[in-house]
């Protein structure tokens, strides 16, 4: 019996474990164990005042706090029967641009690229290719600076609220970011070209892609839940088709469709379903790449992130140029009992929230379906599909290839509920 063990999977957010048992070239058992401790957010949100919810849910994830703020705000606004549009909505997209930029630049260069370039980390990469790493950090920094200019800080920004914004951010610090964003846009075009040259492991999966789709804009907050299998649902009907289940080896819940199938959310799903809504430069970058859509190799989600990075720098520039705050920054809330759901696209995929509130604005019920809970069963299935290749590899390479697959999903394990222990056992 052959066993491969690494103490912990690195360069992911949070802690979990992986067990693969292989017999006759086939995976007989695959488990992605989530050791990340349960944190009970949906429990202690009960009885909190609605305006506290976005601040609390932000703490689910330090890498994508904006996603948690936005999905909860949209759900609570829906419960109150209000909708923020115009400049208030455009500013939400701009805040989200900042999060995509820092999260994608982090993932492409610091988390996934080391796998493709044969380095244990970006810090090691810096020793051999210092300019690549310096540029990556500069690309990431402008995202964090954008978050700071709008929300005061990049991790858990403080300006977004139910009903709009606590305060319109000053225009000057935003405009001051334009030259750096223009530089980063060019760097992202170059990243998209470079992303095509990397040695991705081979794996093609017949995925069901699920993402928010909007006819006029790259799906982020408004629109319908689209599936590549043809289902198109308004957010209110999300739970009729996408179901969460508690499985024994995991502190995270696992999702499946009502037909029982596993689906994928995140950059591949978005790009494949929404490429027509990309900004012009991002569409050009996609066209120049001459890749056939849909992309069905999970490792190549790096390419999708790179194209999205072009999009979000471009959109950020356009939104800053059009920024004209006027009138009150937030609506006056009229509290009433109600129920509402909201969704938005976190950098790692669709994030759904539903709340019930009472007439005093206190939460009575909360449900949160994070992207990683939706992707976990899919990752397990992908690992099964990878098993015949893993059997033929040297142990070290097999371990790296399996780890790389998990990392390519950009899993946010703290979100989904620590130690990703990888154990590949060859039962032959």
């Amino acid at each position: 019996m052959k066993t491969i063990e690494v103490p912990a999977l690195a360069r992911v957010e949070g802690e979990g474990g992986l067990y693969i048992g292989i017999q006759d070239g086939k995976a007989v058992e695959i488990r992605l164990d989530i050791y990340e401790p349960p944190r009970f957010f949906e429990g202690f949100l009960v009885d909190r005042y609605l305006q506290e919810v976005p601040d609390i849910t932000a703490r689910i994830c330090g890498i994508c706090p904006v996603a948690y703020q936005m999905s909860s705000i949209l759900a609570l606004e829906s419960a109150l029967g209000i909708q923020v549009d115009g400049q208030g909505y455009a500013l939400r997209r701009l805040l989200y641009c900042g999060e995509y930029i820092e999260s994608h630049a982090l993932h492409i260069y610091l988390l996934q690229a080391p796998d493709l370039l044969g380095a244990p980390s970006a810090l090691d990469l810096a020793a051999v290719a210092p300019d690549v790493v310096k540029n990556a950090l500069r690309m990431k920094k402008v995202g964090n600076d954008l978050l700071k200019a709008i929300g005061g800080r990049s991790v858990h920004p403080v300006n977004a609220c139910v009903g709009g914004w606590y305060r319109w951010p000053d225009a000057a610090p935003l405009q001051a970011l334009l030259p750096e964003l223009e530089w980063a846009l060019e760097a992202a075009r170059e990243t998209a070209r470079w992303s095509l040259t990397l040695p991705y492991p081979e794996l093609e999966i017949d995925y069901e892609f699920v993402a928010i789709h909007h006819p006029q804009e790259y799906g982020l907050m408004h629109g319908e839940v689209w599936s590549s299998r043809g289902s198109k649902l308004p957010v209110q009907e999300y739970e009729t088709r996408y179901i969460e289940e508690h499985v024994k080896h995991s502190n995270a819940l696992h999702s499946h469709t009502k037909e029982g199938g596993h689906y994928i959310v995140g950059p591949l799903a978005r790009l494949n379903l929404n490429h027509e809504q990309l900004m012009p430069e991002a569409r050009k970058a996609l066209k120049a790449a001459r890749i056939k859509l849909p992309i069905t190799n999970p490792y190549k989600s790096l390419i999708a992130r790179a194209i999205e990075l072009v999009h979000f720098y471009e959109e950020a520039i356009a939104l800053i140029k059009a920024y004209r705050p006027a009138g009150p920054a937030h609506a006056t809330l009229e509290l009433k009992p109600g129920e509402g759901c909201g969704m938005s696209e976190a950098p790692r995929g669709l994030l759904y929230h539903r709340y019930k509130i009472d007439g005093n604005g206190r939460v009575q019920f909360a449900k949160i379906t994070p992207p990683t809970a939706q992707n976990l069963p899919r990752i397990e299935e992908d690992l099964a599909a990878l098993a015949p290749q893993l059997v033929k590899m040297e142990q070290e390479q097999a371990t790296l290839t399996a780890e790389h697959l998990v990392r390519s999903y950009d899993p946010c394990i703290s979100c989904a509920t620590h130690f990703l222990k990888l154990k590949i056992e060859n039962k032959d």
Partner: protein
């Protein structure tokens, strides 16, 4: 402590994650302008979010993010302490239990029943607690999230064998320095600024809202004055207690103040 005699090898640094959101570790990776210099000044020996390379301990500096919430973590923190010469609690989860400690105000098993279909699959402690409740800690850096510049200051100070220069005054001082008009006085907005440690730059008042206490209690807090003032401003009964029972809610000073606020709030209700 002497970490860096000139001939000594670079100090070995380990970064650990306990129950948390990753945001405080991320603040290290968010030191974009300083990260490569920092990485060359120290030996990053264990930092899973950044690298697969794991060098064996003991380590000169250990940085712990997160709070202790499971029986496994309660054991693991002892191992961490044993392998680190100087231990830093990074962020309010590590210094006060953080967001996880919101469970401490309910019965954890009730919360588990509410969230999970099979609570029997879970392993957790009833209370989420600070690192210092389990092992001795050498330096605490508060914040939800930490201010990355303060983390850099703390690490630089350790490398230079000096005491870190971390703010020891209330958030109110930062508002005055920023020229921010007091949100309590001008708008009647509840704000914890007077009892909270500075460090964030008084971001919330600068955005027209009250401080919700990410950086934890300062040592100057005059609760017998603040609590009645805030209860008097409450927009709904219990608002002050909720404000105190937030990210630093399980810090002893805030726990006590929240109980006083609940009492004052219900007395106010029964009078009206």
């Amino acid at each position: 402590m002497t970490l860096t005699p000139k001939t000594a090898p670079k100090p070995k640094v380990a970064v650990y994650k306990f129950s948390s959101c990753d945001g405080c570790q991320l603040s290290l990776l968010n030191l974009e302008d300083e990260l490569l210099d920092l990485a060359s000044a120290v030996d990053i020996a264990y930092f899973l979010e950044a690298t697969r390379t794991v060098k064996p301990g003991p380590y000169d500096i250990g940085i712990v993010e997160g709070s202790v919430t499971t029986p496994h973590e309660a054991e693991r923190i002892k191992e961490v302490r044993a392998e680190c010469k100087f231990l830093i609690s990074l962020g309010t989860c590590a210094t006060a239990g953080g967001i996880q400690a919101l469970r401490n105000f309910s019965k954890a098993s009730d919360l588990a029943d509410r969230v999970y279909a099979h609570p029997e699959y879970l392993h957790y402690l009833d209370n989420a607690t600070a690192i210092s409740e389990h092992v001795p800690v050498d330096l605490e850096i508060w914040g939800c999230p930490v201010n990355k510049q303060l983390v850099l200051e703390a690490l630089s100070a350790l490398l230079q064998n000096r005491k870190p220069n971390l703010p020891q005054y209330p958030v109110c001082m930062e508002c005055k320095r920023n020229g921010t008009v007091c949100v309590v006085v001008a708008q009647g907005t509840p704000c914890l600024g007077p009892v909270v440690q500075a460090g964030c730059g008084a971001l919330c008042p600068a955005n027209g809202r009250g401080c919700y206490g990410c950086f934890g209690p300062n040592t100057f807090g005059n609760y017998s004055s603040l609590v009645p003032t805030l209860v008097g401003l409450e927009r709904f009964p219990g608002e002050t207690a909720l404000l105190l029972r937030n990210f630093s809610g399980y810090a002893p000073a805030f726990r006590k103040a929240a109980e006083a606020a609940l009492k004052a709030s219900s007395e106010k209700e029964s009078r009206s």
